[in-house]
Structures are given as C-alpha cells and as structure tokens.
Amino acid sequence: MRRYNIDELEELLKDKSDQYLMYPSDRVWKNIQKNIQPNQTFTIVSAFVVFLLAAGFSVLLNEQKISKYTPPSGQLAYQLTENNWKTDLPLVEITGRISNRNISNRNEIQSFRSAIPSIQSEESIFTEHPLQLPVLPKIELTKNLLVERNIRIKNKRPGFIESISNVIEKAKQIGKQAKWQIYFGPNIGYRALNGYSSTTNYLYNSYAYSTNSLFARNVKDAVIHKPAVGFMVGAALRYPISKNITIQAGLQANYHRYQIEASRGLPEIATYGMNNLGFGAYPINAVSNYVNGNNYTAGVSLSNERFMISMPIGFDYKVIGSKKLNFSIASTIQPTYILNSSAYLISTNLRNYAKAPNLNRRWNINTGLEANINFEKGNYKWTVGPQLRYQLLHSFTEKYPIKENLYDIGLRVGIMKTF
C-alpha cells in the first residue's frame, strides 16, 4: 500500500473515496419498492373502474355505429357502384346463397364482381363461402342485387380486439395518473326548513289550533332547532385533465345531525297531513311523546341524525399558485343514499314530534362546494379548506308539506400520495 504524504490528504481522499463499494441489504430495495410502487389494491380498483367506464363508453359508441350501418333483415339491396365503394368502411360478412333467379340482369353480376376484387368467377357468388362486402352508409334500391331472406349478417368487428386492448392500455395509463385522496373532517350540520300551516293543501288533526300554529304560520318560526357537530370521511380518485383542472370521483360517508328543542309530554297522536299530489291525501298518524317547543320543565333536545353514503363526482380548479402550494376551488354533485335515519318530524299542526320513517327519502342528491389550500409536504399532498354541502332534494317525500333541506359546513382535510 502506498503511503501518502500529509499534504496529499485531499488527493488521497478523492482517490480512495470512489474505490470502495458497499452493497446494501435486500430490505432496502424492498422498502424502496413498497414506497415507489403505487398501492396495488388501489391501482387495480382504479384501473377496473376506469376500464369499466371506458369499455362501456366504447361499447356504447360501437353499438351506435353498428345500428347506423346494419342493413335491414330479410331482403337486402346493395348498390355497388364505384362511387360509393369505400374500402375503409367496416366489413360485413355475408354468408348464404345468392339466388340466381332473383338477379334480373346479368350485367349486375358483372358490376358486383368488378366491385369486389376478391370474387374471381361468377360461380363463386353462388357458393356457400362467406363474402366480404363493405357496409355502405346508404342503401339504395335502384340498381340492386337481391339476396334471399335467410342471409345471415354478422359484423366481424375486425378492430374489436384491438379497441379492447386500446381501452385496457388507456385505462392503465389513466390508472397510473389517477391518484387517490383520502379526506375527512368535522362539520356543523343544520337544515333549511320551510312550510306553512295552511289548511288548503294538507289535513290537520284535532290539535290544529295549538299554541304554536296559532301564532306561527311558517314552520321556521314555530320550531327551535340548532346545529350540531357531524363528521365526514371519504376517498376520491383524482385525475388531472389539464394543468389546472382535475376531475374526481369517489365515495364519501357523512354523519349529519342537528338538534331540536322539544318537551316531554303525555302520549298524543301526531298527525301528518299529506299534500294532495293528485292521488288523494290521507294523513299519517304516529304516537308522539314530544311536544314542540321547550317549556323549561320537561325540556329535551331531540337529535335528528342521518348516516349517509354518497358518490361525489366533480372537478377541482386550481385558481392560483404553484404545484407545491396553491389555492383551488372544487365542486361536486353527490348522489346520496341514506343508510340510516333517525329523524323526528313535526306534525303538520306544528305541535308534536314523532318519527315517521315512511316519509323519509332514501335517495337524495347533494352538492358540495370547497375552497382548498393545497400544499406538498414530503411525499404527500395535503388539502385543507372549508366545505359547504347542500342537499338539493327535500329530506322527506313530496307528500309531506314541510320541506327540509340539510346542509353542513365543515373543514375538509385531504391527503394524497404524490407518487
């Protein structure tokens, strides 16, 4: 080994630092792989969803094309002239026998043969072998060949396999670019309430002239309700379609609630008069232990709770900022299914509260508006911002004259892997 002089230290370090190699243990590569390869489950699910959508769309388009070009069954007529012969049109396989007697003019056979290069002789037309004919965009009955009724037309779809593989490939690409965001956050649930204690459109029970309804014609003025804390959690698959716009779709669970002030009382019959929607209006009765309004002696807070699951679909628009830190707004439409509902409804005389499960709507549509601050920290992208969610359809069926639209304002925190 060469001994270096003391003033050659830097040279020694440079020389020797590259000479020695160390080999990492297997766990290093395994851990790297875990981190850089996207979550397989998410990828498969994403790819599957995208594939289904793409395949469905592709099939839909294909079906439209087929229906456009499929000749009618039974006797078919083709005008085969050089003008409308287009070799790039999709091919239709025709099997069957062309009847000699139906062909009125031998010259037509000649034109038919000259139009189809693969037909070499007149006999070949009358064989059972399939012929390759172009599907013509327009079928005219002028100069034609008549083909017997039992001709079977089968679309070979020569590009079908390729289109499926293209769809798969496209789905893979989208699946790679699409990223899952998990989000959650607390919210304050409340409701917009509307409805009048009018006698013209629904029925009343014997308590129609109760204290509340005498002085409060509008239900808003008759009830005491207050917001309560709920929760939201969800996952969205996000796919950027441009520099500033990202589309997103996912699943979201919401626990929504608000509270109503009432008083305990002796059991009474609460009657829910129904709107007459053209089929007659029959009131629904329920036993109620709660009277509207807090009388300070037997006051109780009733909690109207709903657990719902929805599928938010929408877009996110980056308003300003860089990739690392930006401000965006987002909007979603959320088809919603109410999994569980525990709601007290006010009777239509505005006196009692009781549960009337039959009046709850199971399906609804919500809309969401968000303003988000997005920032990257390490390998994760965080999204924080307020969200307003508003229920577009009333909580109860249209027969119930009092209209309730739920809404909540919450803080939404989202996290997404950036690789």
Binding site: E8, L12, Y20, L21, M22, V28, I32, Q33, N379
Partner: protein, 192 residues
C-alpha cells in the same frame, strides 16, 4: 441498458428500469451515505430515502449534467437532511478529544486502504466529517456548504481545517499518511 433508456424507463415508472438503476448506482451511493452516517443501518436508511426521492423526482432531472451526478447530489442532500434532524453542524469539538478516537479495525491489516480511509472519516464528529466530505470529496465550496448546512461560510472553513487536522492525526496513526521531517520536529516534545 443505456443511460438514456434507463432514464426514460424510470420516468415511465418501469419497475425493471427502476431496479436496474438501483443496482447500478446503489453500491456507490451507499458508500457515500456511509461516509456521512454513524452506522451502516443509518447509511441504508439514508440510501433508501435517497432512492425514493430519486424515483419520485426523476422527471425533474433536466439532463443538464450526468444522471450519476444528479443522483449523487440527491443522495447527498438526503444525507444532509437526515443529519440535520439529529445534529447541529456548527458545534465545535475539542481537538484534544481527537486522540481518543480509535478504530476497531486498527489491527486488521488485510482491509483495503480505501475502506480504512472511509472508516477514519467516519470517526470524525458529525459536523467535521460532513464538511470534510462535502468540501474535500464532493467538491462543494464553503459558500455552498454554508447554505446547505445553514452555517456561516467561515464556520465551514474552520470546521474543515479542524476536521482535516483530526483526520491527518488518525491517518498517521494508521500509517496511511506520513509526516514530513520538519513537521515531526515540531511535534517532538522537549527533552526527548
């Protein structure tokens, strides 16, 4: 696989290209990490973190320099960030302590000189060895080191001077370096 193909493959997140890149550069990069780390486990953690960064940020590589150079810089920055979490770089170490620094491999004559030198570097206090690695081996200027480590440029200079002295002493004891005669005279105690 050429470097260009390798790069394109990694940019398209091709697992085969990623593994190839890792296999090609990981031994050298682990040695780099090892020079900064306090243990092999730490070095492997740094390497892992560095390669995750490389694979996730490879689209940012602009091909202005070599791929290896970019990988090296990414790994070095990862090492520095890793060390920053645990250590301040502007701490001073008393040079008197340098004499107490020993190597477990003093009596293993069969080891390669290169490995011995790396081990000697690793005996230095973290601040010293980081500046020494960056300046003497990686070729960073003191200004760049100052920015990288959030220390003054002058601190980087003084750290380097002390690190160098300390390393010289260790290497002399290991017979890798030898002193010049006139220097030896300075070091001989009076009375000998």
């Amino acid at each position: 696989m050429t470097e260009e193909v390798l790069l394109r493959g990694c940019q398209q997140r091709d697992p085969i290209a990623q593994q190839e890149l890792y296999q090609r550069f990981s031994p050298k990069m682990l040695t780099v990490c090892y020079r900064y780390a306090k243990s092999r486990e730490d070095a492997e953690d740094m390497l892992q973190e560095g390669f995750i960064k490389i694979f996730t940020q490879i689209n940012q590589f602009e091909q202005k320099g070599s791929l290896e150079g970019w990988i090296l810089r990414t790994v070095i920055h990862t090492c520095i960030n890793h060390l920053k979490k645990y250590k301040k770089f502007n701490e001073n170490v008393d040079l008197l302590h340098a004499g107490n620094l020993t190597s477990n491999e003093d009596y293993l004559p069969g080891l390669l000189q290169a490995k011995q030198i790396i081990e000697c570097i690793r005996q230095l206090p973290v601040g010293y060895r980081t500046v020494l690695n960056l300046y003497a081996i990686e070729g960073y200027s003191h200004r760049e080191i100052g920015k990288l480590l959030d220390i003054e440029e002058s601190t980087s200079r003084s750290q380097y001077t002390r690190a160098k002295m300390m390393l010289e002493e260790i290497l002399i004891r290991k017979n890798i370096l030898h002193q010049k005669q006139e220097q030896k005279k300075w070091l001989v105690p009076v009375g000998n």
